[in-house]
Amino acid sequence: MKNLKKGIALAMAASLSVCVFAGCESGGNTGSSASTGSTATTASASAGAEGGKVYYLNFKPEQADQWVALAKTYTDQTGVEVKVETAASGTYEEQLKSEMAKSGAPTLFQVNGPVELAAWTDYCYNLKETSLYQNLKSDDFALIKDDEVKGVAYVIETYGIIYNKTLLNKYFETDGAKAKSVDEINTFDKLKEVVEDIQAKKDDLGIKGAFTSAGMDSSSDWRFKTHLANLPIYYEYKADGIDSTAAIKGSYLDNYRAIWDLYINNATCEPSMLSAKTGEDAAADFGLGEAIFYQNGTWEYQNCIDAGLTDEELGMLPIYIGAEGEENQGLCTGSENYWCVNSKSSEADIQATLDFLNWVITSDEGRTAMATDMGFVTPFKTFDEDAKYQANNALIKAADEYIANGKTAVKWNFSTIPSETWKNNVGAALLDYAQNGQTDEAWEGVKKAFVDGWKTEYDAAHSGEAAAEEAPAEEAAEEAGAESMAVDENAAQ
């Protein structure tokens, strides 16, 4: 028995140490799994004369390779070392937190709007005197706090209801079609008629549903808890003439419900299946031509093309929710990607970073890379100098057409949502509502998460700030009209 005990003690010690190492490993994995998905490049050329280095922690995995290539070009030209790391999809905040705590922290990082800026504000170098800010078309694209420019947007994006023109035209030719051209769809009522008719005729049209699955998996739920939620927030702000609020009233929640009902009842899957449907599922529905409508944004362009759709087949409709005056509503346009320079880096590194950014937005290589290779619409004046610096993206062209036709773009007011938790709770309530027969009672849950949750989260976020001066400062940033927000979800793009 003694031997057995000894053996067992040994086994226990071994299993404990395994636990410890496993623990270490999984802890480390956050970083390393992120860097597996990431591409790191460190040009080995000797550093520039000042000895400054650039380390960019990139948010957008889709453009990881392009950034690495661009960094290499810069190093070849100037000898300044530029390291680019890209956080794996959905892990940016985690990686930023751990990277910033190291020596050799990123000199250039991103925040996605005023709420996240509040956490990083002490790390943001004032960009006011830089060419980056001076080349910006408007202050709308900067995060300004206490008269300091904390962040500068580098890409403008647009979302709406992407549709498949070929399939939609096929529907318009059917007997008794509720509309004959896409121009007729300019209100919620018309959209609803068309969608419901399409759903009824789905077998004739050879599709599975009018809309793609409204997946509530975390890879897809941001389309509804954030982007779709933007519309009731936008219209409420507009009606009240405000830019942000401590307590939302939810005056347009019935419209929110109407559009959500439309999405889930006329989709490729039953509402009870939504919780497990992912962003990829929706992209596949659309890419394979099994659905006509797909709520998403310009970032989805490349995926659509990769799935075999052509420029001519892609169009984008505004998200109509039945608010007054929506005939003149355009698409939702804004930014949620702001560059910030780490103020805690050495002066040489800050200078090197600013030089690099200046080169990116003024040199031919930099502008070509951003506009053509990465497909970005940028808010910088320097890109207007030549037509070749305009992005080639059919969805962006669709967005531009709405502006050209005098429609008003919807602002990204979701940047004023008080916290990620608010979004998560609204998302959970939307899912509950979808799964539980879409009753009025279940909708009360959404109302509660939307209205009461807003106040709770706003108070928590503002009392949570230990330093009292942070609260007014944050409002200042919001007033500056920064239009963006924490969408970790953009990972999915």
Binding site: D122, S218, A428, A466
Partner: protein
């Protein structure tokens, strides 16, 4: 070499491990404790805020929910894993044909990593539930039982091995004596085998209990807390608080401290309780 001769070499043998222990355990523990009283964005710029993180923590309904959900999960999985593990161990010590093959097969799931297992089982469950137009993340009840099944599948083999070792160590003469005295199979199990394998039971309950409380990978891969963080176990809740909520890093840290205290206390109580029942030969 005698003990005395070896003594001067003590630091040589003990120091490397000791240093590793300090770096890998003592320092993070101390830092973690300290950070739980601070507000911070990165761990280098912490500002002490007293007990605020701890009071905020209990205002979070999701944390309370995760606490109960985890406790329930731990109870159910400890009972089922040990029951089935012991039952299979009994079967596989009866000398039936292919015993070694069965032991290997039952042990194998334990060699697969938690994340992989989570995704595999998610596919299996969703594949079955799809027939009813449902998914695993439809409600937290499905997630709960999904997780229980997964953990059973993974850990039964592991505790089985420990139980087999324990059962094989029961002296055959004791069982023989009991048989001669006319004990039934049930009596032999209850009065001879069980008391004799008590040390194995102590270890197995310890391992399964702490594992269930600390469970993270499987939870993340299987449901990721869906729907709406309601199938979230404590570890995942802490992780999401720390990384997912701007300004709540300190609260996440405070939760982690409370969490380790809870796990520690429960594990010690369990060790003391089962240890008492162990018999000496």
């Amino acid at each position: 070499m005698s003990k005395k001769e070896l003594r001067p070499y003590f630091p040589l043998f003990a120091l490397p491990t000791f240093i590793a222990f300090i770096i890998g355990f003592i320092v993070p523990l101390g830092l973690g404790m300290y950070l739980s009283f601070c507000k911070f964005t990165t761990v280098n710029d912490a500002v002490p805020v007293g007990l605020k993180n701890y009071s905020d923590m209990f205002k979070d309904p999701e944390f309370i929910h995760a606490l109960w959900y985890t406790a329930l999960f731990a109870i159910v999985s400890v009972v089922t894993i040990n029951f089935f593990g012991f039952a299979i161990a009994m079967l596989l010590t009866k000398g039936i044909r292919g015993t070694n093959l069965f032991r290997t097969v039952f042990f194998m799931p334990n060699l697969i990593g938690g994340i992989v297992l989570g995704y595999i089982w998610q596919l299996i469950f969703n594949g079955i539930l799809a027939h009813f137009d449902l998914t695993l993340t439809f409600s937290e009840v499905y997630g709960f039982w999904g997780l229980v099944i997964l953990m059973n599948w993974q850990q039964i083999g592991y505790v089985m091995i420990i139980y087999i070792a324990g059962i094989q160590n029961v002296p055959p003469e004791l069982i023989e004596a009991a048989k001669i005295d006319g004990a039934t199979g049930r009596q032999i199990l209850g009065h001879v085998i069980l008391p004799m394998v008590m040390p194995s039971i102590t270890i197995c309950t310890f391992i399964t209990l702490t594992n269930s409380f600390k469970l993270f990978d499987q939870n993340l891969a299987l449901t990721n807390g869906l729907p709406g963080n309601r199938s979230e176990l404590l570890s995942l809740n802490i992780y999401n608080t720390f990384y997912g909520r701007v300004g709540f890093e300190g609260v996440g840290q405070a939760k982690a401290v409370v969490f380790s205290l809870i796990v520690g206390v429960i594990a010690i109580i369990q060790l003391v309780l089962t240890h008492r029942k162990e018999v000496q030969q």
